[in-house]
Symmetry: C2
Subunit: 366 residues, 2 copies
């Protein structure tokens, strides 16, 4: 095996097993609750039994695909329902590495830790394109590094871990680069319901043969354990290739979960999403205010639900993360988990209603 | 993409869209109903919400892994819960091709159609080892074809499509060959609850560092749409490598489904499995009696729920499968889908209570 797991599992276990009261800001597990439609849908499904407990269509339940296609304004034959956003990214990255010239991926640093592992697992190599100070991506920095070897560029907007949201101009230029240099742009948009800036622009806006959009209901409906995501591929042909790999990997997607998600899509008031987003925005404000009090430097997120911060004289190493757990009662992630550029930083996930308390603890500690 | 999808989806659609009444014996979707514990477990889970709707541990819910380990008599750290048996096979085959010397897989012909596609997808090549007339595998035939290039041998017992059950001697010799020639033996045992012969022997019996057993609850509990399978790996280290690939492919398994399966494991009377098996045995008997009447040659299954048959002067081509759908009202699978050796044959899945009627239709037609 020449790939490896993201290194944060040990830290999650360490935080869980700590003696004192630790506020867990490590994982990305939403804590604000799912819409009622999820539980209702599961209850409905549980009574069906028989044929409804068997394989869904490989590409996903037809009604769910239709609902996704209608919301995204694309033809249904471009949509494949996957085992979460994780599988959607795996499929899209495989398409890029196998179907496009070259065998190299450009990833943005700071990077979502699963991307490098996926590229390696798929037999590709990768290079980092550094984000700017604010976590934004300058398409010019991609242009500087793109080559004939570039099969794939993967972006995540709104971004984990930086909270950056790529605007219309950035996305337009990335799509144009993909077409000019013949690579596949994979735009992972799983945090699209958590844009505080109003600037979020999906790669789908540009209707390009070189762009795949991946997404998931894991964050949208606070159901990371259900494993329902999707890819919107440039054409029915590319979607069919993704579906075939999906079939050879997982046989089919998850019918109970797809059924529940469909029910939630049909019944959830948009106010649910507004509430979730406002909850996160308020946490961001509270948390960053307290970081100011603590004298920390931080990246102000425009979306998603993470804050990267740096404390003077306290680099975000694994050792220091353990110290924070033991001595301050706050568990974050070491910056080195997210590429090379922010090894001194820490990432805090705002998935707890104790974010303010955590920030106070940090302020008191530093 | 240098792999491709099994070719039976077109036929399934053709059968579904046919004008007349067609008895569907194409897919492997059980029709005999799940134990009550599945629906009960889902109902229970649906009310939990919150943290219980989030990612399960990457390797699967601890209690489910413990239940599997106890039933299989292995250490829990050798068990990884997967997205169905399909993902378990994908992981095991990847381990074989990446972790063992060589890049070739030996597959048994007739073959389960997903295996060749998975090998190709994983960058390997494959050769067939022919089964004997009755579908049994002579380990000597494996020995004849094994070489330094052999990374992987994949067997399926009880077998889809032949119904063969590999006995104690065969499994012992296959495991010994794996150790002698340093390849990974993957034993796919998803039909282990459907052994009519009493001869089924799991590869786990031999506790070898060269054997992985894959299994699934899809057939066991008639829930192919839930996507809960597992691998039992030779050691905790190999299981960790499988878990890492699982994480990079699907992030995690499916929590609602794992919860429901755990509940069903705790509450299902063994009589449920006896009933399911007897139902299948009776269908096999009825169906093969009628095949006798139709003058067909067939392979008598010792397990699983498929019958391969050959009709004089009517090779099992795709064209003839369509003719049978249109003219006899019975949908089967062309033999060519299962490798090279039985292209003249047809496979019928006994997943309908109309198996007798189907056989009568075939007898009348021929």
């Amino acid at each position: 095996m020449d790939y490896e797991a993201p290194a944060f599992f040990d830290l999650m276990a360490y935080a869980r097993n700590a003696d004192g009261d630790v506020i867990d800001m490590v994982s990305g597990d939403p804590d604000w609750g799912s819409p009622d439609g999820i539980g209702e849908g599961l209850h409905e499904y549980a009574d069906l039994g028989g044929a409804d407990f068997q394989y869904p269509p490989t590409e996903g339940l037809t009604e769910l695909r239709e609902a996704v296609a209608a919301r995204r304004g694309v033809d249904v034959d471009r949509v494949v329902i996957t085992v979460g956003g994780g599988e959607a990214n795996y499929l899209a990255m495989a398409l890029g590495l196998e179907g496009w010239p070259g065998s190299e991926a450009l990833l943005v640093d700071p990077v979502y830790p699963y991307y490098p592992g996926k590229v390696r697992m798929l037999g590709g190599s990768y290079r980092y394109v550094p984000a700017d100070r604010d976590g934004r991506l300058d398409p010019g920095a991609v242009r500087e590094r793109v080559s004939e070897e570039t099969a794939l560029v993967v972006v995540n907007t709104p971004n984990n871990p930086t909270g950056a949201v790529y605007g219309e101009r950035t996305m337009r230029e990335l799509v144009a680069l993909a077409e000019e240099y013949e690579f596949l742009l994979v735009s992972d948009e799983v945090y699209d319901h958590f844009d505080f800036s109003g600037r979020f622009t999906s790669a789908l806006e540009f209707d390009s043969p070189n762009a795949v959009v991946t997404n998931s209901f894991s964050k949208t409906f606070a159901i990371t354990g259900f494993r329902v995501g999707y890819g919107v591929f440039p054409s029915a042909e590319v979607a069919d290739a993704a579906r075939d790999r999906h079939m050879l990997t997982a046989t089919a997607g998850v019918r109970p979960s797809q059924y529940a998600v469909l029910h939630a899509l049909e019944t959830t008031d948009p106010a649910y999403h507004d509430r979730s987003r406002r909850t996160l925005e308020e946490r961001v404000e509270t948390f960053t205010d307290a970081l100011d009090d603590a004298g920390a430097e931080y990246m102000s997120p425009d979306g998603a639900f993470y804050v990267m911060a740096r404390f003077e004289g306290f680099p975000g190493t694994e050792g220091n993360v353990r110290r924070l757990i033991d001595e301050a009662g706050v568990a974050g992630m070491p910056g080195g988990a997210f590429g090379e550029s922010r090894a001194d930083w820490l990432r805090f996930a705002l998935v707890t209603d104790r974010a303010e308390e955590a920030a106070d603890r940090l302020a008191a500690y530093f």
